[in-house]
Symmetry: C2
Subunit: 290 residues, 2 copies
């Protein structure tokens, strides 16, 4: 099975586990709407790519870690789209959860996805208990209050914000968790892998800023020009379009250089370059050196 098929299967397994036949039907529909159809599944693909590079000796463990990361990412999107935050109308080309199901079910669907992420991990990794605590800690750190995506989002509610810390937590923390979880799922030390994911997360944020000015709304699945419209800081505003592409190239090179020695290092490095090019419109992707 290729990585995307593994991820979709793991997510279907998790939702089947989490949603009963006799639960509230609109909640079940809201949760499904939040998870399917997916976006790029970037974080779980990164997790699996690292697991495979490290030997992937327990594929069911890495599948569960990948699914947990994606469920938490989906939960964060549902809550970030709420009226009190972005009040977004569209996500992945379809109405956001609160527009389709109302604000109350959007709050609950996000909550439920967070619970399901940890429940799914525990259920699928129960037979390898020595890996469960480490994986739970890695995943929780990536999303948590201390320096995870919840902390990142909360910086939007503070009077003074360090933008580097904001981006590191709001975006890069979950990428760092994805690479660390991929290694831990394969039974390998996770710590050396954080830098790879964190650098990729910062690269992804730059690519996101570039797409917001250089992609079409159809390709993006949501309106473009949002950073300028909301006066949000962005790499293109700070560096110009050419400068942002050059910055993305630097970050991609740094991520590739950070890949620790492992059986599949060469394949993983090539995959990272391919992924970085995929993130940009073709004309800009051609400028990348990775």
């Amino acid at each position: 099975m290729d990585a995307l098929a593994r991820i979709e299967h793991a997510l279907e397994t998790a939702l089947a586990q989490g949603i009963g036949q006799d639960g509230p039907p609109r909640l079940a529909a809201a949760v499904r709407h939040a998870v399917f159809p997916g976006g790029g599944r970037v974080r779980p693909r990164l997790c699996l790519a690292v697991a495979v590079a490290c030997g992937d000796d327990a594929p069911e463990v890495s599948d569960a870690a990948a699914a947990a990361l994606e469920l938490l990412h989906c939960a964060s999107l549902v809550h970030d789209d709420l009226p009190c935050f972005d009040d977004a109308a569209l996500r992945r080309g379809q109405p956001t959860v609160h527009r389709a199901f109302g604000e109350r079910l959007a709050v609950l669907a996000g909550d439920g996805l967070i619970v399901l992420a940890f429940a799914h991990l525990a259920a699928q990794v129960a037979h390898r208990p020595e890996r469960l605590a480490a994986l739970t800690a890695i995943v929780a750190r990536a999303v948590g209050l201390r320096a995870g995506i919840i902390a990142g989002q909360a910086w939007e509610c503070e009077p003074a914000v360090d933008l580097t810390q904001y981006h590191r937590e709001k975006t890069a923390a979950l990428f760092a968790g994805a690479t660390a979880a991929g290694a831990a799922a394969a039974g390998v030390a996770a710590d050396p892998w954080y830098a790879v994911g964190e650098t990729l997360g910062l690269a992804y944020q730059v690519a996101d800023d570039i797409r917001d000015v250089a992609a079409t709304p159809e390709a993006l699945g949501k309106p473009i020009g949002q950073d300028a419209a909301h006066a949000r800081p962005s790499a293109t505003a700070a560096l110009g379009l050419d400068g942002a592409v050059a910055r993305l190239d630097e970050l991609a090179q740094a991520a590739i250089a950070a890949v620790p020695a492992c059986p599949g290092a060469a394949v993983l490095r090539a995959l990272i370059g391919q992924e970085m090019r995929r993130l940009l419109p073709a004309a800009l992707a051609a400028r990348l050196t990775v």
Copy 2:
């Protein structure tokens, strides 16, 4: 250490673990506001009482389970109080989190408490990995999408609701999880304990309905008469005050009868009676036979 001291200490440990020195300070304050000062700490006290009745051979494990249950309870209160649900102004005698810190930080504080519950459990039970998967599953089931408190809350968003299922999930599921977790934390089979907690949860819901008509706002820490004001179904509306007290007595007897054989069964049964009397104003408590 008595149970309440153990719980407060475990909650302080969890918050110290979850909130860093350099995280967003208002988020940290919102999370603390959601957890301290506490209410009755009913669910973690129940969890510890069962753990003690079952021998409590790993107190740090039962402390972690108790704290996780309370963190999840606090998260549900923060989100249930949001403007899109109850838009409550007061909780435990102080402003609700969204009134004190804004709606965005209330959403994030609730999310963060859910993550922290699972992270704390994993961190504190890592040295007993064989108990971690079972405890995570029990706790997740108690709050989850299928039949936990999130499902219970979601029934408020459905066109047709089975009231018994609504109360079982919205309130009793977390009590059932508390008794099951107490047993599992002590290394004892959890399944026989679900009925104790579920019955106590239904009793607690009846007591809550009784207090809403028979307590003072000062004793309750929030306005009384809310069920009638919101035309919510309640045991006192359905059975009258006397009938509701009789129903509570029946449920308390049933919970006591359901306690499985264990070293501390007699003490636990006495504790349950004492707790049921504590829930009611003195004049009504005197009518209970337990």
